[in-house]
Symmetry: C2
Subunit: 213 residues, 2 copies
């Protein structure tokens, strides 16, 4: 079976999940922590080398303050949870903005935890435009785009799994996602089941990989 080397995770639907539970929208994020850890362990089990979690974006920070605080806190907690695992952990995002949580600054260079076997990238206050904007700082006339973007330490993504039913990338790593296969789970992220992961990985195994050729 062909296992994706790098999985991108778009954990969407936390707010809709909370509303369905009769809660405030911002109360859904905390319930995304256990799924994130469970997914990490499944990736380790089947031999995925690298995972990128879509934490929050610069676009997302325009949401109401309570929601912003809630998703920021959930990201901080998620990174701290993953730091207890065998992970080579990197947080990527715009650290020059007040929206970037200071607690995560130590992770903005890649840190090895435990055996560091799985590369984990966490996008926090990430913006696709911010990511691409470093391109024109490059000196040579023709550069390899993937080497000069701010997220150049993140590899090409093989499989993107998005929870919450929406079929769009919403700014997720545009360069690394160029050739990625895109699998959508209709359930909301807090309703994560390990079957979602296995279905996505089985589906990926049936795709032909041409990298645009």
């Amino acid at each position: 079976m062909r296992i994706p080397k790098h999985i991108g995770v778009i954990p969407d639907g936390n707010r809709r999940w909370a509303v369905r539970q009769g809660k405030e929208k911002g109360e859904g994020y905390d319930s995304g922590l256990d799924p994130g850890l469970e997914l990490f362990k499944l990736c380790q089990k089947v031999g995925v080398n690298e995972i990128t979690y879509y934490g929050f974006t610069t676009d997302n920070t325009k949401r109401p303050r309570e929601q912003r605080l809630a998703f920021t806190e959930a990201c901080v907690n998620a990174v701290k949870l993953l730091a207890k695992e065998d992970a080579a952990l990197l947080v990527i995002g715009n650290t020059e903005s007040a929206m970037f949580p200071k607690d995560l600054l130590p992770y903005t260079t890649r840190q090895i935890f435990g055996k560091g076997t799985t590369k984990v990238n966490f996008l926090v206050n990430y913006g696709w435009e911010w990511d691409l904007n470093s391109l024109h700082g490059a000196n040579e006339e023709k550069v390899k785009v993937s080497n000069v973007i701010k997220s150049s330490d993140i590899s090409r993504v093989d499989l993107i799994i998005r929870w919450g039913g929406r079929r769009r990338l919403s700014g997720f790593l545009p360069v690394q996602s160029i050739y990625a296969d895109f699998y959508v789970v209709d359930d909301y992220w807090p309703d994560f089941k390990k079957e979602h992961f296995y279905e996505a990985v089985n589906w990926y195994d049936k795709q032909d990989i041409t990298l645009g050729g």
Copy 2:
């Protein structure tokens, strides 16, 4: 009903269609011309302002010569067909390479045909990396990415429809596709039916549009 302003079209599956018909792979492209014109007319009918067709990419030109000649000819013929309609037509791609068909050079600045009511972009010998590589030619420290890429005359895409079952962008306009909703038709492009278009447009009408917010 909310009609997408700009539809991206990935007309995939021509080779698989040809093989299924017992033909050579390269013989499938010609059967994609009528669908392209029919789709254009449907877009006009429902009020879509702009269409971008994924012709061929710099990646695609690495395929066997017969296939390359066949898809190049199909693109030239498609552009000539569309030039008989009410279209504001632009061909975008790397014209510095021998792979760019000389017949299409006159269309590399936008040309108005008939009433020019529908903006049509045709990607020919397009490469995502080629597109983004103009970014670092920009002078200012922070630029609006969408203004400085080579395809800056192409607007943000609302809805991408891909024929042929594959769920990936394969390098299609990474910047303009950031927030696009992505609809996949399992049928091959030469098997185009107008129902595909209506299903995609109806599906799009049910999506919430947040532009990352």
